[in-house]
């Protein structure tokens, strides 16, 4: 029995075991939550999941990679259009379509990363911002507008849940399963990559380029790798978005989306993948709660329509002022205080002799 416990403890120390267990827990959570939620909430779960994919890419880029991108929406657009095109014209199945979205976005990321290898900080951020504005405008260019259907966008052929799951299995629940699976796999992959040799090289290059280069890290290559990985995550998120909403249109990839993703990444806490989940959750929950509230109210239409935006803006500002290190750090801070609070609220005398741990 004791040997078993020791083996288990030793296994838990292995990164791959811990990350694998966390991923399994995440998958189980998706299954349970999607079974409990009604159909419309499942759609929102799917929305959350594809946002997590894209945000996690940004978090990874900003954390170990040390680079800021404002143009994640552009990569999502690439992923979405790729998915739409291969599903509609080539009739590829979903997995192949999502994989192609990921690969195409990664290739574009690779080209852009090569071209911008010398850029740092805000210069890179602004270039990605310009890309986020320019890319959706491509759909109206002559030559391309025929294939991409201009501003109306491409509607994606819907794929029903597989017959194995039964006839009354709802489509949103299936979508929540698939997107949730992709999000968990993305997080698992990024967590492992961050702990790998490449992750360590990235952190070294982020903290001090010269020292990293002297220690044998190929700085340009690991920076490029971080950029490509983030682009691929954006592509996957975009592909899922196109599949879930059955539409790839330039309107979905506005500047607001790119800004929202960046805000989610920073709000959650840069560098922690859990932060990406927190940030995306905030993005979805705040807008959903406030639109429920305002649509049920008797406010004038202009006010009711824009209340969610106003509340979201206030939430962004307040959260940033309250938790400068991001939501995940705030969560850690609170959870580390709870035992102390509980201890303090106990009457004196109870549990005496344990207080020496302070």
């Amino acid at each position: 029995m004791k040997r078993l416990r020791v083996t288990a403890a030793r296994a838990l120390r292995l990164t791959v075991v811990r990350h694998g267990l966390a991923a399994l827990a995440g998958l189980a959570l998706v299954l349970v939550v999607s079974a409990v939620l009604p159909s419309y909430r499942n759609f929102q779960l799917a929305e959350l999941s594809y946002l997590v994919c894209a945000t996690a890419g940004l978090t990874f880029l900003a954390g170990p990679g040390g680079q800021i991108s404002v143009g994640q929406g552009a990569f999502m657009a690439i992923g979405a259009y790729t998915t739409a095109l291969v599903i509609n014209h080539q009739h590829w199945n979903l997995a192949a379509a999502l994989l192609s979205a990921l690969v195409v976005a990664a290739c574009v990321g690779l080209l852009l990363g090569l071209a911008t290898a010398r850029l740092r900080g805000l210069y890179l951020a602004t270039l990605t911002l310009a890309l986020a504005v320019a890319l959706p405008a491509l759909v109206n260019v002559r030559g391309l507008s025929g294939i991409l259907e201009g501003s109306n966008g491409l509607s994606v052929l819907a794929s029903p849940p597989p017959a194995v799951l039964g006839a009354d299995f709802s489509t949103p629940r299936w979508q929540a399963w698939v997107t949730g699976f992709c999000a968990v796999v993305t997080l698992w992959f990024l967590a492992n990559l961050g702990r790998s040799r490449y992750g360590r090289s990235m952190r070294a290059a982020r903290d001090d380029e010269a020292a990293a280069a002297l220690s044998g890290v190929n700085v340009a290559r690991v920076r490029l790798l971080a950029f490509v990985v983030a682009a691929a995550c954006g592509g996957l998120g975009g592909g899922l978005l196109a599949w879930v909403t059955s539409l790839a249109s330039p309107g979905a990839f506005s500047l607001n989306l790119s800004f929202g993703l960046l805000a989610a990444a920073i709000l959650g806490g840069l560098g922690s993948l859990a932060g990406a989940v927190w940030g995306s959750l905030l993005l979805v929950v705040v807008s959903s709660v406030t639109s429920d509230l305002s649509s049920g109210s008797r406010l004038p239409i202009d006010v009711a329509n824009n209340l969610p935006g106003a509340v979201y803006g206030v939430v962004l500002i307040v959260v940033m002022m309250t938790f400068p290190g991001g939501l995940h750090q705030g969560y850690r801070w609170i959870s580390s205080r709870i035992p102390a609070l509980v201890r303090r609220s106990r009457p004196p005398g109870d549990g005496a002799g344990r207080g020496s741990g302070r």
Partner: protein, 292 residues
């Protein structure tokens, strides 16, 4: 040839406006190291103030004055209320607060003024001058735009180079600690910097509104062009932002004139990419010496 000349003239007018926005961004960046994503939203709000005054009184000049005053007040408010509390946190927090401000201001403006874009009047004729029977794309109103921007830039340069206030602002931006020790109230100079940036932004908003119309998200693209101009110029230098603005304005004008207006934003992306590939920290940016 006439077409080229006309495109250049149109490019210069647009470029001057991009330069104005870039200038507002550069002012804030130099003083507080914050990149103000909310500049576009702030511009939009002050321009709406101008529009309302114009609508009530019918006077363009009174509206312009009110918009500029609103810019000063808004800049001060934003710095004092929203930016000051997060200034000591991680650098990107101020950026998120600015993103929050964009969403908040956009929502408020849509609540008050609705989301349909509105026309904004011009003070002078839009009919181009004709020289030797050829009509040029340069109207009295364009001259007014260029004149206003040139006047603002000269005033700013004089403020920074010739006044005690300008010296204090430069000192506060260069080394806050040292400036504080020497008796400069750095907090106050930061607020003044933001207020001035708000004023400049308000001017840019009133000047660009007749072209792009006035609506809650009508200024997004213009703001991105302002960013692009500031980055091309190097983000640190007022001269750089003017050069960046003119370069961008002319290129966009040629691109939309010769290749079609759908690819204009791609043109901006391309100019930025080429400029940054040549000089990774902008044309007038600091030399990229990295400390080892």
């Amino acid at each position: 040839m006439v077409r080229f000349l006309n495109l250049t003239l149109a490019g210069i007018t647009d470029g001057m406006i991009f330069a104005t926005i870039a200038l507002a961004l550069v002012m804030i960046f130099r003083a507080t190291r914050v990149i103000n994503f909310a500049q576009g939203a702030m511009m939009m709000l002050t321009t709406f103030v101008g529009w309302t005054v114009q609508d009530r009184t019918g006077s363009y000049w009174l509206a312009l004055g009110c918009a500029l005053a609103a810019g000063l007040v808004l800049g001060t408010l934003v710095e004092r209320v929203f930016i000051r509390p997060v200034e000591n946190g991680p650098e990107l927090n101020a950026a998120v607060v600015a993103l929050g401000l964009i969403v908040l201001i956009n929502a408020l403006a849509s609540m008050i003024w609705g989301s349909t874009p509105r026309a904004y009047p011009v003070p002078f004729s839009l009919r181009g001058y004709s020289v030797g029977g050829v009509r040029l794309l340069l109207s009295p109103n364009d001259l007014f735009t260029i004149g206003m921007v040139a006047f603002t830039m000269t005033a700013l340069v004089l403020l920074f180079r010739r006044t005690a206030l300008g010296l204090r602002m430069r000192a506060g931006a260069y080394s806050p600690e040292l400036a504080r020790l020497l008796g400069v109230r750095v907090g106050a100079t930061l607020t003044i910097g933001w207020a001035l940036a708000g004023l400049i932004g308000a001017l840019a908003g009133v000047l660009i509104a007749p072209v792009v119309f006035l609506g809650p998200d009508q200024f997004d693209t213009v703001l991105v062009y302002g960013f692009t101009a500031a980055i091309i110029g190097g983000l640190e230098s007022p001269v750089g932002s003017v050069v960046g603005g003119l370069l961008l304005g002319c290129t966009l004008s040629y691109v939309s004139g010769y290749a079609g207006s759908e690819v204009t934003s791609l043109g901006a992306c391309a100019v930025l990419l080429v400029a940054l590939m040549a000089r990774p920290s902008g044309l007038f940016g600091p030399a990229t010496g990295r400390r080892v």
